[in-house]
């Protein structure tokens, strides 16, 4: 029962076989329903209380109550409204209990008690954007920006944020506390920046959104290969940003990149939850609507920046080459390699070089690919580098070396869903 209701309430999972077919315990269903609505409820609570900690604590309290009652009684028909009402009540109680809070708190209480439990879409949108720009305020360190965004916008637990960013949980807890204290004590404003401020504020927001997308897409620490909710959340944020600033090439580029990657969602995981490589994917399952939108957006981004190409747009162009190929064999590797060359010119990174090496492999064979992969410095700690070497060495018949490289990849924490592909074509993990 709870499971069925969850499936209905999860508006963002239209086509996902993942959530509807996988057996889900009532507790898991409750947890997922909470996560689905976490950030928008939190954003509204922060606006009303002007206190990130208070809002988080109140929502946490509501979530705990939900986890106590939903598995028993079933997830309510309107889980978001349920959580909102309970969280607001908790916030009001906390404000009233706390004698130190006076004066302007009366306004918070009034808002908490009188605003409709389901604010208009535009209000929610502004709440989320305000939260985005507060979390990505330049007076916070980049580390803090990313952590805070994942915690509040992504709705990840402190432990999950810590694992995603590969720092100890205690360090992450301190980082989050310090960031929230600074927001509070230095009065970092909770508002969407002015037009003049926007260009300077945008890059941090975009890299944060893309990190959230990647957290959901690659599920660095998860059993299931995709946490659709985070992917949806990041794409939704990307769309919001695009609507707010339709002329920003980097937003079009990022949104395009995310849509094109997400268009493969249904084909990327099989019925058993195992990852399906790009070469083996059933392209009939790719979302044509997302591909069309993504290709259109990348065109928009490229037209807007003929002089200085945008790195997101370049990556989207590469993804578009895959998306429009009728099958793997007819992929235009020449075009992909050219896009990588442009990308490396504006933003040289070891992972982009690895992607280019994958394309070289497909075009010129494993020996040429291995030369490229071995030439990349600085990826010793990156499991996919070892996985790529393993696969290429295997194809070249150098089995002992391949075995050693696979072990390296696994010991560096390649996630379980991906692990079984060590030794298989790498281009496909894209």
């Amino acid at each position: 029962m709870a499971q069925l209701k969850f499936a209905l309430s999860c508006q963002s999972c239209e086509d996902s076989s993942l959530t509807t077919e996988e057996p889900v315990s009532p507790a898991q269903a409750a947890e997922r329903a909470i996560r689905a609505d976490y950030s928008r409820i939190l954003a509204t609570l922060i606006r009303m209380t002007r206190d990130v900690d208070l809002a988080q604590d109140a929502l946490q309290e509501a979530a705990v109550r939900a986890l106590q009652t939903w598995p028993r009684d079933g997830v309510p028909d309107e889980p978001r409204a349920w959580l909102t009402v309970v969280a607001r009540r908790c916030a009001v109680d906390r404000i009233r209990r706390d004698k130190a809070r006076e004066g302007k708190e009366a306004e918070s209480v009034w808002l908490l008690e009188h605003e409709p439990p389901e604010p208009e879409a535009s209000v929610v949108r502004d709440d989320l954007l305000r939260l985005v720009f507060t979390c990505c305020h330049p007076s916070l360190s980049l580390d803090a920006q990313v952590a805070l965004s994942l915690r509040t916008l992504g709705g990840l637990s402190t432990g999950e944020v810590a694992r995603a960013l590969m720092v100890p949980e205690a360090t992450m807890a301190k980082r989050l506390t310090r960031a929230k204290q600074k927001i509070q004590q230095a009065h970092i404003p909770y508002r969407v920046p002015s037009d003049a401020e926007l260009p300077g504020r945008l890059p941090a927001v975009l890299s944060t959104v893309y990190l959230i997308f990647n957290e959901g897409y690659a599920a660095a620490n998860g059993e299931d290969a995709m946490r659709a909710n985070l992917v949806d959340e990041s794409i939704r944020l990307g769309r919001l940003l695009h609507r707010l600033m339709p002329d920003e090439a980097s937003i079009s580029g990022l949104l395009s990149l995310m849509l094109l990657q997400d268009s493969r969602r249904a084909a990327r995981v099989d019925r058993d939850g195992a990852v399906v490589l790009l070469a083996d994917q059933d392209r009939g399952l790719w979302r044509e609507d997302l591909i069309r939108e993504g290709v259109e957006l990348v065109g928009e981004a490229l037209r807007r920046t003929p002089e200085v190409p945008d790195p997101y747009a370049m990556q989207a162009a590469i993804a578009a080459c895959h998306a429009i190929a009728a099958d793997y064999a007819s992929t235009d590797w020449d075009a992909i390699i050219s896009w990588y060359d442009v990308l490396l010119r504006i933003q040289d990174s070891p992972t982009a070089r690895l992607g280019r090496a994958g394309a070289i492999t497909e075009r010129d064979g494993p020996q040429a690919g291995l030369v490229e992969v071995d030439a990349i410095a600085g990826l010793d700690g990156y499991p996919w580098w070892h996985a790529s070497r393993a696969e290429l060495l295997m194809r070249l018949g150098r089995l002992d070396e391949a075995q050693a490289a696979s072990q390296q990849a696994l010991s560096l924490g390649l996630n379980q869903a991906h692990a079984r592909f060590v030794g298989r074509p790498r281009a496909a993990s894209a």
């Binding site: 305020h137 007076s139 004590q185 230095a186 009065h187 404003p189 920046p193």
Partner: protein, 115 residues
């Protein structure tokens, strides 16, 4: 409204010297431009005039004074402003008008409200 202190770090000079008249005039312009939010402040003599004071062995102990500033840095603490602003963005925008922002650095810190 919250208050901030904008701590001015710049080259360590005697602001009263005629050589620095042009820059002092820039500070005068800032004072006028930001009059609405400036609640106080001071320009300081160079760090050569500074004395750093410590008391050894706890309160009431021996007074140890040493010549010079607490920290020797490339840019010195040469002054401060107290600003009353709506939020950190306004404080940052105001601090960006202080000449040291382009000739040195300005550190903006929120003031702890004492009840």
């Amino acid at each position: 409204m919250p208050e901030y202190v904008a701590i001015v770090y710049s080259k360590d000079v005697d602001w009263s010297h005629p050589d620095n008249a042009a820059e002092m005039a820039e500070y005068g312009a800032f004072n006028e431009a930001a009059a609405a939010v400036i609640r106080g402040g001071a320009a300081l003599y160079p760090t050569a005039t500074a004395t750093t004071v410590r008391v050894s062995g706890g309160k009431g102990g021996d007074i140890l004074s040493t010549d010079g500033p607490y920290a020797e840095t490339k840019e010195a603490l040469t002054g401060f402003f107290i600003l009353e602003c709506a939020d950190l963005d306004e404080a940052i925008a105001t601090a960006a008008l202080i000449p040291a922002a382009w000739n040195g650095a300005v550190e903006v810190r929120p003031v702890l409200p004492i009840m």
